[in-house]
């Protein structure tokens, strides 16, 4: 035994405590404590300022599901949920063709991924310029002889959510793409070579090699699209501030708290969102548990 080994035993205790105390204190103060307080407020009528508040039971929760003013914002999520299928399909297509050797592959990969790195405010403004009357889109359509298709992309309440959801696809497609590409490329190359020797064409290679390796991650991405579409915030907030029927659940929550001072009601909305996230996580555990264990 080393003479200092006892000392190391004591040191171990000290360093475990010293290294964990700040991260854990921050985790409690800025993640769990806000959550706990949100749960508490969700049963009150607190306005965010006054020292007193009444207990209102489940009233806030039932209001979210019964008041059309609040319930209707869930409908907006459906546009984004639908768009996430388009997003995943595009990502899968581009990831598949770029997983094979191809001239200019690095350029295409970079260009398709880059929007994911751009600042949300910049993206919001880029697409305000793109969609505005006589803007880029209208100009392109006119010159392609499709002038008849021109719409009030942002001003028309029937169109706006399609435009915003399309912007969202533009922003986030690259992320799915890069994840799919990484998964496909983790398949050993010999598998493709062996398949080619056996006379498999590209479709066979996709069907029997790529698809099985990527099925899980696609399922996961579709499931997570539920969270994504209900948590939409930046694009509509920046582009329209929720005007014209583009208010999303999270914008509504934030406005209920900070604009209308109904902190109790807003807290209930926050808890409902968390409940949805937890349900999705549990579904993920149930559906995709096989490979989960090996990481830790």
């Amino acid at each position: 035994m080393h003479p200092l080994s006892l000392d190391y035993k004591k040191q171990k205790v000290v360093i475990i405590i010293a290294f964990l105390i700040i991260p854990l204190a921050m985790l409690f103060t800025f993640s769990f404590l806000p959550l706990l307080r949100m749960l508490m407020y969700s049963f009150t009528d607190w306005n965010g300022l006054s020292k007193t508040m009444e207990n209102v039971g489940w009233k806030n929760y039932s209001k979210v599901f019964s008041d059309p003013d609040y319930f209707s914002v869930f409908k907006v999520s459906l546009y984004y949920f639908g768009a996430s299928f388009v997003q995943i399909a595009l990502a899968l297509y581009f990831a598949t063709i770029l997983s094979f050797k191809l001239a200019g592959r690095n350029f295409f990969r970079g260009a398709l991924f880059f929007p994911y790195l751009i600042n949300g405010v910049a993206i919001g403004f880029i697409f305000k310029i793109f969609f505005r009357g006589d803007g880029t889109l209208d100009y392109l359509l006119t010159n392609l002889g499709l002038g008849g298709w021109i719409q009030k992309w942002i001003a028309n309440a029937k169109i706006i959510n399609f435009s915003l959801a399309a912007t969202s696809v533009w922003r986030y497609m690259g992320f799915n793409f890069i994840i799919f590409l990484g998964t496909i490329q983790s398949v050993p190359n010999e598998l493709y070579e062996a398949a080619e020797i056996d006379g498999a064409n590209r479709w066979h290679q996709f069907r029997y090699i790529i698809w099985p390796s990527i099925r899980r991650i696609i399922g996961l991405n579709l499931l997570l699209a539920i969270n994504g579409s209900i948590s939409v915030f930046e694009i509509p907030y920046i582009m329209t501030f929720g005007a014209n029927g583009s208010t999303t659940y999270v914008i509504q929550t934030i406005n209920t708290a900070f604009e209308r001072n109904h902190f109790g009601l807003a807290s209930a909305m926050g808890i409902i969102l968390l409940a949805i996230v937890i349900m999705v996580a549990l579904m993920q555990r149930l559906l995709f548990k096989e490979k989960e264990v090996e990481t830790w």
Binding site: L20, F108, G120, F125, I129, T136, F175, V250, L273, L274
Partner: protein
């Protein structure tokens, strides 16, 4: 016959790739072009017509000085440097302790960080706001710094994976020389973690640089603008002055484009690694 089919599919591939790239590039290039136009020129020419003078930096001057983009950079850089330093240290400390020592509660601690990631970040600001105010951080740069500094499961996970590849025999030989655990962490492990640190800095750095709502909520004063909130404020005063707004957009994008071009490999690895668990 086979050859013809093959050429056809290659053509289709490139055609779709071209369309994809155009869809990404056109909205951005239009903004780039507009940023060099005078307001008269912007209103009278088509969006894809090149500017008369590519050296017309008037809009940039407006955006930087009047639009407070310069100030925004100053604040963003301070927030980035302080919070990334903190996040790197805190995250690697947690990973060091969890990877190098067996003790009760390891699993629970990891689970708590994992659970915290699921909490929707924007909606909980309703109550985080009161806590930040309670500590007197509201209206100061410390509010975003502290909120960004807290470590998260993705950073811990990246550090843990990398630390698994650092042999414990390094620790042991240092212990024979009588080095303390803190010395082992500070002098041996931390320098070896540099590739993992780079990954964490890129993922978190992009997130912090692009974050809009936290600075918007906690630093509403104009003098406290960061890049994204400075740009957001262009909507008011410049209303329809799209050429000035365009300059602001370009100013926001250029640094991230530069970083991406120089550190591509790290970006790809970082974002694919970071998502494995989520």
């Amino acid at each position: 016959m086979v050859k013809i089919k093959y050429a056809g599919s290659t053509l289709f591939k490139y055609l779709t790739l071209l369309l994809g790239v155009l869809a990404v590039v056109v909205p951005i290039v239009v903004v780039f072009i507009a940023s060099f136009k005078t307001s008269k020129e912007y209103l009278s020419t088509s969006p894809i017509a090149l500017p008369e003078n590519f050296f017309n930096f008037e809009n940039y001057k407006y955006a930087f000085v009047d639009g407070k983009m310069l100030l925004g950079y100053f604040n963003t850089i301070i927030i980035l440097v302080v919070s990334l330093t903190g996040a790197t240290l805190l995250g690697s400390m947690v990973a060091f302790v969890i990877n190098r020592f067996k003790f009760k509660g390891r699993g629970v601690i990891l689970f708590m960080f994992l659970a915290a990631m699921m909490i929707p970040a924007i909606t909980t600001q309703i109550t985080t706001f009161q806590i930040v105010k309670f500590f007197g951080l509201y209206g100061t740069r410390w509010a975003p710094i502290i909120l960004f500094m807290g470590t998260d499961i993705i950073s811990i996970y990246i550090f843990l994976r990398f630390m698994e590849s650092i042999s414990t025999s390094i620790d042991e030989s240092a212990m024979i020389d009588g080095a303390s655990y803190f010395r082992i962490y500070w002098n041996l492990i931390l320098p070896l973690l540099v590739p993992a640190i780079t990954t964490v800095i890129i993922i978190k750095g992009v997130g912090i640089y692009n974050d809009f709502y936290i600075p918007q909520l906690y630093m509403p004063k104009k003098e406290m603008s960061v890049v994204s909130t400075a740009l957001y404020r262009f909507q008011g005063p410049y209303g329809k002055a799209w050429e000035i707004i365009s300059a602001g957009i370009v100013i926001t994008i250029v640094p991230i484009l530069g970083a991406f071009l120089f550190l591509q490999r790290y970006f790809y690895n970082g974002f694919t690694q970071g998502s494995i668990k989520s």
